[in-house]
């Protein structure tokens, strides 16, 4: 496996580089720590709106000029908000990369947040919030997180609410930028046809003279997990989406590898336990799965399926019984081996392209684990025992929050 070269610039920015000459392109990711973590319910949607505005004007260029520059190179440049980081992604043919990097640095350092663009993006975000309501899965998942994490940012939708987005102003965006978009809060992760020395030099040229104006960054508390409760959202649908959510550990926990194995065993792929038991043997669902997002402060394990409205109770019982089973009895040797092969194999398959490599290393660095966690994670998964899987399952599978959309 490639190992990224890590360099820390004098201003605190971490630069990770993986040289990969297989294809003539370079991909880079700028991670700005915290993401939506610092949002309050009153400002829900702030970081998403910042991400929409970053590419829409700088002190030197208008939104259209930025788009023209990127598209004339046939490159891509985009920004998005996540629960633990704000991300700028760029990709270009290798010879265009220096120009694209320079433009991206300008976007990062001196966005102008023009009023007309704020009005447009606010309006379009509200449309996006409305169209989220067209997807039963999205409705259910949002509600599940709200049931578990309450008013903490992890319980809020990334896009925000219509009424909070409508009130976000230019000064809110500027205040966020001033406090969080700072060199010591930044990880730049690069993969592709470029040497480490060359990449570090290019980054230093465009970001090296950037100094923090606000060196103190806040600490964000993990959410207080709420007493699990249930919600039913009635729609006139063909199918009901049935979801269970259990509070689960953050990525920095020693139990994280075992939780990833539990989620893999239950929900990953066509040989997974939920798929075989509830779809293949009982024909209850087309879509049935489980997942466990990697998060910095706290997470949740979600088990869900789409099923006929008349099967909702059976589906809930089936999902819960499979989770409980993991707490009651250990996995046998074959099951554990299969779960490890799947988890590690798909983990490796998820790092095929340059963008995927830049994402993986930059994310771990941004979460405070370091890019080395990529290999450390593999080692930790390999040594997880059936007993520790069961112990972690017992801690996790207590009482779930339940959401039914149908």
């Amino acid at each position: 496996m490639p190992i990224p070269q890590s360099t820390v610039l004098d201003n605190g920015t971490v630069v990770l580089v993986v040289e990969n000459n297989a294809v003539d392109l370079v991909s880079a990711k700028f991670f700005i720590k915290y993401g939506t973590q610092m949002e309050t319910p009153e400002q829900a949607g702030l970081v998403h709106l910042v991400s929409s505005l970053l590419t829409k004007g700088t002190s030197n260029f208008s939104a259209q000029e930025i788009a023209e520059q990127v598209e004339c190179m046939g490159a891509s440049l985009s920004a998005e908000a996540n629960s633990d980081y704000l991300l700028i992604s760029l990709k270009a043919i290798a010879s265009d990369f220096p120009s694209l990097l320079k433009l991206s640095a300008e976007i990062l350092r001196s966005p102008s947040f023009p009023q007309s663009e704020i009005a447009l993006e606010r309006h379009l975000t509200i449309q996006a919030i409305k169209s989220q309501q067209e997807r039963p899965f999205a409705i259910g998942y949002d509600r599940l997180q709200s049931l578990l994490f309450g008013q903490h940012s992890y319980g809020l939708p990334i896009l925000g609410f219509e009424h909070t987005v409508a009130q976000l102003s230019q000064s809110d965006l500027q205040a966020y930028h001033q406090q969080y978009v700072q060199p010591q809060n930044l990880v730049v992760s690069i993969a592709g046809k470029i040497s480490s020395d060359q990449a570090v030099q290019l980054v230093a040229e465009v970001l090296g003279d950037w100094q923090s104006v606000n060196p103190s960054l806040p600490s964000v508390d993990p959410p207080q997990v709420q007493t699990p409760s249930a919600a039913r959202i009635s729609q006139n649908n063909q199918q009901a989406i049935v979801m269970l959510g259990y509070p689960a550990v953050a990525v920095n926990s020693g139990d994280y590898p075992a939780m990833k194995l539990i989620s893999t065993y239950l929900g990953s792929g066509l040989s997974s336990r939920l798929f075989v038991e509830l779809r293949e043997k009982r024909g209850l669902a087309y879509e049935v799965s489980a997942f466990y997002p990697t998060r910095q402060l706290a997470s949740l394990l979600v088990a869900y399926m789409g099923t006929a409205n008349s099967n909702v109770e059976i589906a809930l019982e089936g999902l819960q019984a499979e989770c409980d089973r993991l707490a009651q009895q250990p996995l046998n040797a074959e099951e554990l081996k299969l779960a490890k092969s799947k988890l590690l194999g798909q983990y490796a398959l998820g790092k095929q392209t340059n963008s995927q490599l830049a994402q993986a290393y930059g994310w771990y660095e941004c979460l405070g684990l370091g890019a080395d966690f990529d290999q450390e994670f593999v080692r930790q998964v390999e040594v997880v025992s059936a007993e520790s899987v069961q112990a972690v399952a017992q801690a996790c599978f207590q009482q779930p929050a339940i959401v039914v959309v149908g």
Binding site: V18, N21, D24, L25, E134, Y286, K340, G345, Q352
Partner: protein, 429 residues
Amino acid sequence: MLSSPSVPSHLPSVISSVTTTPQQSGTCLEVFQGGLKLVCQPMLTAVVCVDIWIPSGSAVEQAGNLGIAHLLEHMIFRGTAFDFLIESQGGTSSAATSLDYTHFTFIVPAQGLWTTLPYLANMLLQPKWTEADFQQEKAVVLEEIAQCYDDPDWVAYQLLQQTAYGDHAYGRSVLGTTADVQRITLEQLCQFHALHYRPEQMTIAITGDVEIGRVRTLVQESFVSRTGGLHLPQPAIAPQSTDRRTAHLNHLHQSRLLIAWLGVEASAWQDGLGLDLVATLLTGGRSSRLVRQLREELGWVYDIDCGFALQRQPGLFTISACLENAYLEPVEHHVLTQIEALAQGQITELELAKAKRSLCNSFVFGMESPQTLASFLGYHTMLGCDQLCANWSELYCQTIQELTISDVQRLTAQYLASDRSIVVTCLPH
């Protein structure tokens, strides 16, 4: 059924996603006696991806059997240990059915090819099913159909296909009807299988860490060709005149506008790439015409996208927008005006060059992944675009680079005439 091959015991952490010595040998495209096609591209990676394409999608179904092609795709996995075989190696697999095809794809560490491909060949050519398996899988497929009806974009697209193709097979849902799926018998499924799942019909694409000579032998041994070629006549598509439909959909929060035209068939893939270029001019990025004008300057659409689907018979060139009711008419008018402008040649050289570069680069970016490349090569080889596939790494971009303003003018005038547009609008209840 072949007895389950023993599962390799290595840990998949041996999969390395990157190697650093650039070298790439050419593409191999070979037609075996009987008609089986193999397209193979060695790549710098430690994995191998296989994608098998069978040209019997929903378009070959008969009335009363609608949904049988998709049901068969599901049944192929029944009673097998394929998922376990793939996933225990750390690989993944999937399958899909559309109008013109069903395809089966998997990705595994390179050495896994030698057990996995013969196993899949046997599943495809000699399945063994029980009635109980069949009934259980039907229940799964019926849930899948129900789930699709809760997706307004899926429903809107079905309506567009019906409107554009009328009684032709392309006008029907790939998933068939609930009534037909309930009615299909295991015997009918076996007959459909015997008719269509024949090596001489198949196209196999293999990309990744492979050596062409050994792959050729493996394919030959695994897919022993049966005799006789099968020619499947398909009815011609009646040219449509302009038509429009409006539907009110449950739990829609934003309106949808879809404007479509019949484009070219796969044998004219050069014009297909030309239509891809027209699509890029219209919605390829924030500085493209329709995105810039309708999203960025006017704020009339929340999202607008455009694409051409190359199929065996003429596929659709579709512009789709997500917007508020009040803007339906002005947006439609604006789109048609811009297309008329392209037909008049109102394009700058700069605009054309930018669209060409975007299109070529996104092709290059996409082909970084063995799965995307296998899918591209398998699909286009199945459709008979052999020339494109044999020299894909040069010909795709070369074809696009050679297009001129007058080509854009010709393609727009020829295929995107406003008196042949199909318009579907979906409104919230």
